[in-house]
């Protein structure tokens, strides 16, 4: 019998999906091996879950064992002279940057929130606002220890086994459980960035400015107002950032102190940010969000146009942490996100059609973000030379089916254009659409590696089942 006391309802970050699973919090490799043995004995499967930041079903497995890594978050070794750090998989990006910044280092790839664990980042092979320059998370991982489904442990080094390394990275945790990884940090001379904000009145300009900025700025990210159509379709604000170089800041040791990086607790020094979602919730509908997007654009395009200012690394990088628990504005239905990756030449056409379809189906995205990308080496990678558009949608009672249809329809546009999808964000994409974005034989190759490394399918997730048919 599995202990009933361990059964918990576990949700994806977007809270639109969940499943009951037996939650275990291993603290050692031995504990993980015990969990694997238990799963074998009970003929069930396991799923790894970091901080639970994947929007959809990446860390969900009904009636299986859910491994929570909150007790495996030790920093095992740190060399401030080389920027090489050994960490357990449960170390969050928050813990990582706070640990290395004082020595003048910064994680080269971070997500929009500092909560994900490094284990999750490697499994989903996440990217940041500097994807064009730095690539994905796995490109900064030198090696990792992998606990395989049979309970054996092996070290996989990029240089020695690049093919296997790139199969495991971005494999949604389907090929093994990472128990340690060695990461290479990026040297920074200051804890500050120079940031430029510009506006784009339409999609064409937006894509052009993003593309032009990619070679001059380390970070490029654009916010799009997804509500207007016609000539204003795709309008939005762009933010470019670059690290301050040596000599540009008089006292860099100050900005490298973590207390000077912490995000403020209050907005305008008055409003506690932890309550901000309550203020936003009444506006979380089509009309309210349309006005918020409109006002944000207008403010950025007038007062904020062409502004050049300095911002701390944490402030610029972790925008999603500005309003704690902001996802609660979408309760009780939660939200889903859909992120399409489209080659440069097709991006304008595909994104235009996607935004128009959202409008037509009266399901506008409440938050839309555009980024520039480059290809990655992972077998199950999502990178390509192009742009990505991430769209947030509220999940409302009675509209769920229509929303899922919208996602499928947008997905078909991406497939036609030779694009890709980002599983960490996905919750609703049909498997056949996802699979058709890969070249002939690529999925089969991954599945044969899976069969070889985990013939009993001990490592599973709803996401892997939906997208790859693993299960």
């Amino acid at each position: 019998m599995l202990p009933a006391s361990r059964l918990e309802w576990i949700q994806g970050w977007g809270e639109s999906q969940g499943a009951a699973a037996y939650l275990f919090r291993p603290s050692t490799i031995g504990n993980l091996q015990d969990c694997l043995q238990l799963a074998r004995d009970k003929k069930i499967s396991l799923v790894s879950r970091g901080s639970g930041c994947s929007y959809g079903d990446a860390a969900l497995l009904p009636e299986g064992i859910c491994l929570n890594f909150s007790r495996m978050q030790r920093i095992l070794a740190w060399d401030p002279s080389t920027g090489i750090i050994d960490v357990e998989p449960g170390v969050s990006l928050r813990r990582l940057w706070r640990y290395v910044l004082g020595d003048g280092w910064w994680p080269p790839v971070v997500t929009g929130t500092m909560e994900p664990t490094v284990g999750g980042c490697l499994s989903m092979n996440v990217h940041g606002k500097n994807n064009w320059v730095r690539g994905t998370f796995s490109e900064h991982c030198v090696e990792f220890d992998l606990l395989q489904a049979d309970g054996s442990l092996r070290t996989i080094r990029r240089e020695e086994e690049p093919e296997l390394f790139n199969a495991v990275a971005g494999s949604f945790g389907m090929l093994g459980i990472v128990t340690r990884m060695r990461l290479k940090m990026k040297r920074v001379a200051s804890g500050m960035l120079e940031v430029r904000a510009v506006s784009a009145p339409d999609l064409e300009t937006m894509l052009r400015l993003t593309d032009e900025a990619k070679d001059q700025w380390e970070y490029v990210v654009a916010w799009i107002d997804a509500f207007p159509g016609g000539k204003k379709l795709g309008r939005g604000l762009l933010h470019f950032g670059r690290h301050l170089e040596k000599g540009e800041e008089p006292r860099p040791e100050q900005s490298l102190r973590i207390e000077n990086q912490d995000l403020p607790e209050e907005l305008f020094h008055i409003l506690p940010k932890s309550s901000m979602w309550r203020l936003l919730k009444p506006w979380t509908n089509r009309v309210g969000m349309s006005w918020i997007n409109r006002l944000k654009y207008l403010a950025g395009a007038t007062i904020g146009e062409n502004a050049l200012y300095q911002q701390s690394l944490a402030e610029f990088s972790f925008l999603l942490d500005y309003v704690p628990n902001w996802k609660k504005i979408y309760s009780p239905g939660g939200l889903i996100q859909h992120q399409s990756f489209v080659p440069v030449n097709q991006a304008e056409d595909v994104f235009r059609r996607q935004l128009e379809l959202c409008r037509k189906m009266r399901l506008p995205s409440f938050l839309a973000v555009l980024k520039r990308h480059r290809p990655d080496d992972c077998l199950m990678g999502h990178g390509l030379d192009g742009f990505s558009l991430a769209l947030d949608f509220p999940v409302r009672a009675g509209k769920r089916e229509r929303l899922w249809k919208l996602v499928a329809a947008m997905g078909e546009m991406v497939v036609e254009a030779g694009g890709r999808f980002y599983p960490a964000k996905d919750a609703a994409l049909p498997g056949e659409i996802y699979r058709s974005t890969f070249q002939d034989g690529q999925i089969e190759k991954f599945l044969s590696i899976k069969q070889e490394m985990d013939p009993e399918m001990r490592l599973r997730s709803l996401l892997a089942e939906r997208l790859l048919g693993i299960g």
């Binding site: 059964l7 009951a20 009904p62 009636e63």
Partner: protein
Amino acid sequence: MKKRFKHALVIGASSGIGAALVRQLASEGCRVAALARREDKLRELTRDAGEDQVITRVHDVTAIDEVPALFQEIARDLGGLDLVIYAAGIMRPVAFDEFNTEADLEMIRTNYEGAVAWLNPAAERFGAVGRGCIVGIGSVAGDRGRSGNPAYGSSKAALDTYLEALRNRIARKGVRVVTIKPGFVDTEMIAGIPGLFWVISPEKAARIILKKASRGVREAYVPARWRLVMAIIRRIPSFIFRHLKV
């Protein structure tokens, strides 16, 4: 058809209301585990609804020791669980002046002890995950101590009280506990009994039960007119009730 539940367990599914519930749930796209003693009846269910939709286990609800492991196994095989219906029930014909302890205890074991054995782990599970729906099929016979069948009536009364207590324990955690009190349903249980009225089909009873379960009502008479009848019967003073042949 709208899917109201995704994964359901029906205990006592060989015939009558239980079998109708399994068919109705399966037709809505719900994956159902059907439990019953009679294997041939279970085979009929899988044949009708499809093996993908209905999984079956031969089980006697008085085999209480089997329940915890079987409950977990079923949840695993279904891939989740959001509805548990206890529909197992027997009514042994008892003559007015008959006192058959063995037959009475058999009814209590099936109608009440089996329910406790199955609904306890259901309540524990649903309480832990903060969601789910438990349905117990009681009876209008549990509302008063009728002279006709003391043990049957009292087993359903005990089930009624047990379900109310469960509700008071776990409703605050987001779990719905629904007590269903059917009147006369055209099942094997009432076959051959004369003088019955307002008899409804098991299919109609199943439709009403699932509607009530999805709404999460606390208690439902099936059909609803029994609520009024039983409200009157409950109010008949005992010194009059003892003279009535009901």
